[in-house]
Symmetry: C2
């Protein structure tokens, strides 16, 4: 191929990939709409639209055209970095979609749908046996897929790689072990401490309209660009990217627990700010997305906890919160409020857990998944193992499976290997923060001033802008000079919680 | 082909058409989103999505696959009525899209975009000369397209046929002439009448939140199904069909003129109720849509005027309106209110015109379009002819072109032949009403009771359910036993306005 021919093929390839992205954008709009107010009677027909657009993307990702692009471009000199990395993403998709026989995959997709609706009923009835046969099939499918796709290390590493490239069982065992050694004793110390936090005010009535007003101003100040996004209500809040110029966030208002909307929106804002600030050079390629689930979660958790649950942040905002509220905070000092929103105690439900105990919930799931795929754990034994692990890590045992092994939707959709990302997010965030304060030593003062811009810009410069150009552990290494470790997270949690609980 | 083979091809054809419909559904969602709050920075990339989905539909409508379906199925015995009529729709699309050379059409699409943005600026500056060269090109393109597509009767009939199949210049000259002969003198009589209507209350402050609450309840009572639709805010209100199970309406609130949202929403509700009640047998085919612009407009106008501006309707709702309002109606009797919302006087802007003068605005445009395509009228002479016609029909001359020939967006998008549908809607509605009251003699009593169901069911049974299975004039004939005429509209308007103005 001449240089000119190569350039032509490269341009055609990028246009082809952009078209796939446009189908994805339409699909994202459909999902956003479904979750923010699409009328119920239209859903059945809308699922046809989803099927068609998904099939278009799938077909394009495995087409002869794609195959020939890969063949003609891979390994060639003179391609842009964006093209090279885009080829890597397309190759990964191509191989995965080609290696799994189409019929088996279609069967699996059908199973996912039935499994998810069965899981809903099983959780409702707190009846694991109802869900068990479906979960067994989902595990079996995934084991088969792992053999089709191949793996280095252990079978479960293959699943982890989908969500957090480079993070293996070996890595997780090390960092989760390190984290657990420090957290489990700390959780115990807190449980034994005599300190009573004043949390009643958190659950007093706070009008939805006022919450909304307060939250909107807050996320705007935090750097969320409303000209490239919007905030809507939904049942299970999420952030969704249509394009990097249209990244939408959603929230849910609970008039008897304002933390739901407040910290939930700040969390989604962290996800959205990441995607809004990816370099525009990557627009229209699969690189215009967060690089991994864990790095994504590091951004949402950075916003939610390092900013949103920081005392300096509330030095600025607490008086305004009082103004908007119905008076419940009038007799609560700033310190008392800060402690209340940072209360930690073992609980059954992961998504309701506090910053300190949350990673332990994740580890329960990680140990189970690891044993399912690398060991001899049987699906039927999950409830028992779940409860044992909860006892071991958190010191509590759920009274039923609805509050235990059946609580999460993930497994019913066949998502194994996803959970560790949540805990990785905490570690990444703490590592980033540790480096950031060397560049921005006045971090707390900036929060108190309401000037988040330097912090957001630091994140953009170091993390956001790269999109998927860099792998998660490369970003971590480039930014912090360190490998993944739990040291900074442990230091952060110990400092914070020892102060709050006078330990 | 054996019967079995034919059946297989028929099923494949219907699946193919359904897929086209699904792309259309995704596209409708994109348009709805763009007009109800999509963030501004995302629009440029979203236009790529629009381009791709539109191209998919276009390509499918002119593909070799489509050609072979048409060839194998057209004229065959044993096909369902739905298939036969769907073939007719597809043939029409196929021929139109094939007969116009693709390059010319693409050039035309580009022109449309530039022309529309130029028109906006020209209207802003009230400078027809700025828009003139673009309008000239648009007319020239359409003249060329007419020769490609061919026509019976006159060239302009070809354009009319796009919006109102079967309604020709011959028909329009007859019915518009009949209508004008009665309306023009009536408008003059009203202008000369001494009666002063008490309209000040209409323009007093009415809070948006209260308007919204009132309007929502109203359209629900009028039979709009909120499980198959939703109401949002927008700048230029519209109804849009994603599928017949998801037909959305939009509105605009003016706190100093509540009529905008109230009658606007009732109008869009009429459009939406039509599409929501098309027979579900037609779902997934191009027949699942209103049969023509005119019949569509007959339903929205029936709702807006025959129901929403009817005195019996307000006997039920006026007290509630008073409750929701800020007190401005307290000293206005029901009769005075009824007269105020039915005030008629010549005005410059079509979309602000009342029920009586509105058709005259349409006729000004009709006469101009007819002369442009069938006669010798030159684009440069449009402002002059516009003002002459306004003088002749409405007795007023706009002070500038912004309030005259430049007021409507339609021509800038190349939509010639569309305007007559608006006036046809009035005639159809009056003809339908005349027949309906033979079946439902207690029409007014039902409105007063708030029981619109029998009225809605009558419209569904006679009009809605057929979708595009029947052509507009066939529906009219089947329902009323009459040809298109202005008699019932004239009677309705004369009775109404002579009472209001004591003539």
């Amino acid at each position: 191929m001449t240089v000119q021919q190569l350039e032509t093929v490269e341009q055609e390839f990028l246009a082809y990939v952009k078209k796939m992205g446009s189908y994805g954008e339409a699909l994202s709009l459909v999902f956003w709409d479904l979750r923010t107010g699409a009328p119920s009677k239209g859903i059945e027909q809308r699922s046809e639209v989803i099927g068609i657009l998904s099939a278009d993307i799938f077909d394009m990702s495995t087409s002869e055209k794609m195959e020939s692009f890969l063949k003609e471009l891979e390994g060639k000199e003179g391609l842009s970095e964006i093209t090279v990395k885009t080829l890597t993403e397309c190759r990964k998709e191509f191989d995965r979609n080609k290696k799994i026989p189409k019929e088996e995959y279609q069967e699996y997709v059908k199973l996912q749908a039935i499994a998810e609706s069965t899981w809903e009923k099983a959780r409702e009835a707190s009846d694991f046996a109802m869900f068990e046969p479906y979960l067994e099939k989902l595990v079996a499918f995934n084991k088969k897929f792992i053999t089709y796709l191949g793996y280095e290390g252990t079978p479960y590493d293959r699943l982890l790689d989908e969500y957090e490239p480079g993070v293996t069982v070996e890595v997780l065992d090390r960092v989760f072990g390190q984290l657990r050694e420090s957290i489990v004793p700390l959780v115990k110390q807190i449980a034994e401490s005599k300190k009573e936090l004043k949390t009643e005010a958190l659950f007093k009535h706070f009008s939805k309209a006022k919450q909304e007003e307060f939250t909107l101003k807050l996320v705007e100040e935090l750097g969320y660009d409303f000209e490239a996004g919007r905030l809507d209500e939904t049942v299970h809040p999420f952030a969704i990217t249509l394009s990097q110029k249209d990244v939408r966030i959603t929230t849910r208002y609970d008039e008897n627990d304002f933390r739901m909307a407040l910290f939930g929106t700040i969390h989604e804002c962290g996800h959205a700010v990441y995607e809004q600030n990816i370099s525009s050079d990557l627009m229209g390629t699969p690189l215009s997305a967060g690089t991994s689930m864990g790095i994504h979660e590091s951004q949402s958790l950075f916003y939610e906890n390092m900013i949103g649950r920081n005392k300096s942040f509330w030095k600025r905002h607490y008086d305004r919160l009082k103004e908007y509220s119905d008076g419940q905070f009038d007799s609560l000092s700033l310190d008392e409020y800060y402690e209340a929103i940072n209360e930690s105690k073992p609980s059954f439900i992961r998504i309701e857990a506090d910053e300190l105990t949350y990673p332990l919930h994740v580890m329960v799931r990680y140990e189970i998944e690891k044993e399912l795929f690398n060991g001899n754990l049987q699906v039927k034994d999950l409830p028992k193992v779940w409860n044992e692990k909860m006892e071991e890590y958190l010191g509590i045992v759920p009274e039923n499976d609805a509050k235990g092994v059946l609580q999460d939707v993930h497994w019913s959709g066949g998502s194994f290997g996803y959970f560790p990302s949540y805990a990785l997010g905490y570690m990444y965030a703490a590592q980033f923060k540790n480096t950031m304060i060397k560049d921005i030593p006045n971090f707390d003062a900036l929060l108190e001033e309401g000037n988040v811009t330097p912090i957001r810009e630091w994140l953009t410069e170091n993390i956001h802008k790269h999109g998927r150009l860099k792998k998660p552990l490369d970003i971590l290494r480039d930014v912090t000079g360190e490998e993944l470790n739990a040291t900074h997270l442990i230091r952060y949690l110990e400092a914070k919680y020892k102060e709050i609980y006078n330990l």
